[in-house]
């Protein structure tokens, strides 16, 4: 079937092409793999069993600016030579990359508590996991609502 190419058809096609071209770039900004957090946790901790408790992950429940989110993690541990926190890992669910921070501690730390500032791309859950010197792992999960996402601002 042959059809004369009208101006209307030409415009429609051009519109579709423009949408097609724009989609990958927009999708990239928001890209995260479903289940990436679980995969990242397993990559760092292997098959270790992760219990709930002992760890306290503190984040504001509502974040206005995802570019700077204060976060602190504290672990309930005596921090003696025989019983201390070996490492603390924090993971996110929906940033382009699932890792946030990994910290190595020892008995010299005296207190298993850290704080820093992080970026969040969207409303999501974060998990902090503490690796103890006896090999056990403990975790805490918090949900954060983000109104202005990181990584999306226009550049000059």
């Amino acid at each position: 079937m042959t059809r004369k190419l009208t101006r209307r058809d030409a415009l429609k096609t051009a519109g579709l092409l423009a949408v097609g071209a724009a989609t990958p770039a927009a999708a990239q900004v928001q890209s995260f793999a479903p289940g990436q957090m679980e995969a990242a946790i397993r990559k760092v901790l292997g098959e270790a069993e992760i219990g709930k408790g002992k760890v306290r992950l503190e984040l504001p429940p509502l974040v206005e600016n995802g570019n700077v989110v204060p976060m602190s993690v504290s672990v309930d541990s005596p921090m003696t030579k025989d019983n201390f926190v070996k490492a603390i890992h924090v993971f996110n669910e929906k940033n382009p990359q699932p890792n946030v921070i990994s910290v190595q501690l020892g008995a010299r730390a005296g207190k298993a508590e850290i704080s820093t500032r992080i970026r969040l791309a969207t409303t999501q859950k974060l998990t902090a996991i503490a690796e103890m010197s006896d090999g056990t792992c403990w975790s805490d999960t918090q949900e954060v609502v983000v109104t202005l996402a990181a990584c999306l601002e226009d550049l000059p």
């Binding site: 890792n99 910290v103 190595q104 010299r108 207190k111 704080s115 820093t116």
Partner: protein, 106 residues
Amino acid sequence: MNRALISLPKSVKRGQVIEIKTLISHVMESGFRHGTNGRDIPRDIITAFSCKYNGEEIFATQFFPAIAANPFLTFHTVATESGTLTFHWTGDNGFEVIEEAQIAVE
């Protein structure tokens, strides 16, 4: 030059747990953003930080792009003896900053 700020108590009692605060100026470009021309902006972040107390490593971290610009970090240590704390940041494109701070333990 990247400016680093370190805050810790000047003099402390032996065995006391002290809080150390560090702040360093750095853009922490995540590598996930695009410029106006649509091209990716390459990643430029601090990837690692460590703290040594008289040569012994007491604290180390790996940073990821999810850390905000101008990384701020607080951590703790037990004041065992007078001496020097060495702070060491390393990152992409050969980034390296070393800072020192003195501590007096009574």
